[in-house]
Amino acid sequence: MHSMFNSKKNPALVWAGVVVIGLALALVPFVAAMGGQAWVRVVNFALLYIMLSLGLNIVVGFAGLLDLGYIAFYAVGAYVYALLASPHFGMHLPFWLILPLGALVACFFGVLLGAPTLKLRGDYLAIVTLGFGEIVRIFLNNLNTPINITNGPQGITLIDPLTLGSFSFGKAETILGIEFSGPQKYYFLLVVLCLLIVALNIRLQNSRIGRAWEAIREDEIAARAMGINTRNVKLLAFAMGASFGGVAGGLFSAIQGFVSPESFGLLESIMVLAMVVLGGMGNIGGVILGAILLTMLPEALRFSIEPLQKAIFGRMIVDPETIRMLIFGLALILVMLFRPAGLWPSAVRKRELSGAQS
């Protein structure tokens, strides 16, 4: 990652790389659309998960705080958007107001979670964050009585798509002679936001704060002795991670047009954590890889197992859905066995593993 973004050595090469990557990213939705718009939606979900994983990576990968309730922030972001841009309260605020607001509210929840748990280490933190995630979900599910705030398990329907003036991301239209479907338009928005978040992450990692997080991850007591304000720095990790989750949640609301608490269960949290760990904790590239793989794998299996079975056996032996999850589980085990630090580990982890075992 480092050398890739070291623009001082070879600026021309870097710019050429940027152009190539940019072109590739611009082509993705059209390539995906050849397999059907469903694939564009899958790609969009992959981008959402990249945002989520990058957010969680700050907490787990950079600062080393095991968070099993991360999806709560996603939920908070999604509900802020849904409540302020749907007929539920009759409010239709513009997205450039409520997306940041969602991030802010999620950030507040991040601090709310972080503050009482500062003293807890490793696995105790894991269960408390897990509990926190469940509490948020349960409240969203129950806050329809006595006053109806979240509409409970019924969820919120007819959420506005992102619109800017007369330009709506939800509709298909022709721009500059190219036809864009709704999901394809969202794709471009998501890519831009993802790139922003990636850039922010890279800057963060190499900043004073990023090094402070790393110090806390490696040895909290030593970090404090070095004059790092561990309380503030840890809270900052929770807050930053949460706000990325909040933004992703708001986008999820807009793309789906419907949110209900069942989208924000514990399994989702575990899934995002699996993305971070599988890809390579602490390494931005690895985390992105993990998110793409884990979103795509089940879908790719969904699209491939059925024809494959028919081709080999001539009929369906086992339901494709069952095999899909089975392979997913096996993949998690195998990847971890052969690459315990993730598919694309961070440099620090690599060094740790090859060096003395702690």
């Binding site: 059209f30 659309a33 050849m34 397999g35 059907g36 718009q37 469903a38 939606r41 899958v42 979900f45 599910n141 129950n142 409970g152 398990p153 019924q154 969820g155 329907t157 007819l158 509709k171 298909a172 239209e173 022709t174 036809e179 479907s181 709704g182 999901p183 999820f252 789906q256 047009g257 419907f258 949110v259 209900s260 069942e262 989208s263 879908e299 969904r302 009929r315 369906m316 339901d319 494709p320 859905e321 069952t322 899909r324 999850m325």
Partner: protein
């Protein structure tokens, strides 16, 4: 070449649907333009989609629905369907939405891409509602065999239909039955805090209160729980005459058993999610003279269900709940195509809205929102461990069933084979 065409077609379809809105879609052709290929082949393939959860806790219900829809497609193919002078071969596409709203939209899009002309599904309201947006944008009619949340058809979409009574109809029937027939003065209500369970429980509460009954306790559980002793103990202290549960069979089974263990004498009543052979099985020994309701007629009273039940059981094992509705939903789509003499969704959609089709569950007719006009509710009680149709309420053809209809709705005690192909 093929890719380019596919891409172009999809884009055109979506674009047209978006630009023209719901108004004039006559020119738009999101369907698999059967005419273009017709001269070459005597047989035209038309795709029908089905979506339900095939993995996860309620996978048994999802598979049941899928089998119902699959059987309808096979029946239609076996009988041979001719539309617009061409022989039609229906192709069945079954998808898994894992009961997860996010996956629901992805598979919905997948069906749209595959150019299905109609969709049966989804099972849960939670996935049916977000998916309906995608189908309506593509102009594809959707009939849910089991989503009972009133909101589904209240979104103002022209493509949303259901062949089952919604929560409002069923909930009020439960409330009325409890107060009028069971003479309940004090009622305790439990729901599982899902969209379905809560919706049903709220409607029951409204109906019961309107008739002068008192709701002495309103308790909650989850759709994953197995221990209800805490809330049942609390309810016991309020001494209700009737305990109503809004939720699924997997919870209602242990719940009835635990009522007995706690010495609760109140009558138990629940809606269609718990009115299954599974429930009587799971509550064996504790369910005598308790009640539940199903949307629609009992199977032995359905116009053509006897034959359906026999064939289905032979092929896939015991019917869970909604398989006959999935069958009817699929057949309704096909009937509408025949009526309109077209497999183009834009053309047969108006025919579907005004369709009158004799299904196995009841007559399939939709009101202006897409809800079924014949929202019949049957109340069952348990006799010797089996469900027994007691009375039929609601709908146009509401006629009290003779109490002497002893035939069990479903063979409850029969060992059940997992529906496998």
């Amino acid at each position: 070449m093929k890719h380019v065409r596919t891409l172009g077609l999809t884009l055109v379809a979506v674009a047209l649907a978006g630009v023209y809105g719901c108004g004039k879609k006559e020119e738009a052709k999101p369907a698999p333009a059967p005419k273009a290929e017709a001269p070459a082949k005597p047989e035209v393939v038309v795709k029908l989609g089905h979506v339900g959860p095939l993995t996860g806790p309620i996978a048994h219900l999802g598979k049941d629905n899928e089998n119902g829809a699959r059987m309808a497609v096979e029946d239609a193919n076996a009988k041979g369907t001719e539309i617009d002078g061409k022989k039609i071969k229906f192709e069945f596409l079954g998808e898994d939405d894992q009961a997860d709203p996010k996956t629901g939209t992805v598979v919905a899009q997948k069906l749209v891409d595959a150019k299905v002309v109609g969709v049966v599904g989804h099972l849960n309201s939670g996935t049916t509602i977000p998916a309906s947006k995608i189908y309506t944008d593509a102009g594809i009619p959707q009939i849910s065999p089991s989503a009972t949340n009133p909101k589904y058809t209240q979104q103002g979409f022209k493509t949303t239909f259901r062949v089952i009574a919604n929560d409002v109809q069923q909930g009020s029937a439960l409330g009325e039955f409890s107060v009028k027939e069971l003479k309940a003065k004090k009622i305790a209500i439990i729901d599982d805090k899902t969209a379905y369970g809560e919706g049903l429980a709220n409607e029951t509460q409204k109906a019961a209160e309107a008739l002068g009954a008192k709701i002495v306790a309103r308790e909650y559980t989850t759709d994953k729980a197995t221990d209800f002793k805490a809330i049942l103990t609390k309810i016991k202290g309020k001494q209700p005459d009737v305990i109503m549960y809004g939720g699924m069979d997997a919870q209602a089974g242990p719940m009835v058993k635990q009522m007995k263990e706690l010495g609760i004498k109140a009558k138990f009543i629940s809606g269609d999610g718990a009115c299954t052979a599974e429930w009587t099985k799971l509550s064996a020994g504790a369910n005598e003279s308790h009640y539940c309701s199903q949307a629609g007629l009992p199977i032995d009273k359905m116009p053509n269900a006897k034959d359906f039940q026999e064939r289905f059981t032979k092929k896939y094992g015991q019917i869970q709940v909604y398989a006959p509705y999935a069958y009817d939903a699929t057949m309704a789509l096909i009937a509408a195509m025949k009526k309109a003499n077209s497999t183009d969704p834009a053309k047969y959609l108006p025919a579907l809205a005004t369709l009158s089709h004799d299904g196995v569950t009841a007559k399939v007719e939709f009101d202006e929102k897409g809800d079924t006009k014949h929202g019949l509710i049957t109340i069952y009680d348990v006799k010797e461990g089996k469900l027994n149709a007691l009375s039929i309420v609601g709908g146009a053809a509401a006629a009290p069933a003779p109490a002497a209809a002893p035939a069990a709705a479903a063979p409850a005690a029969a060992p059940k084979a997992e529906p496998k192909k």
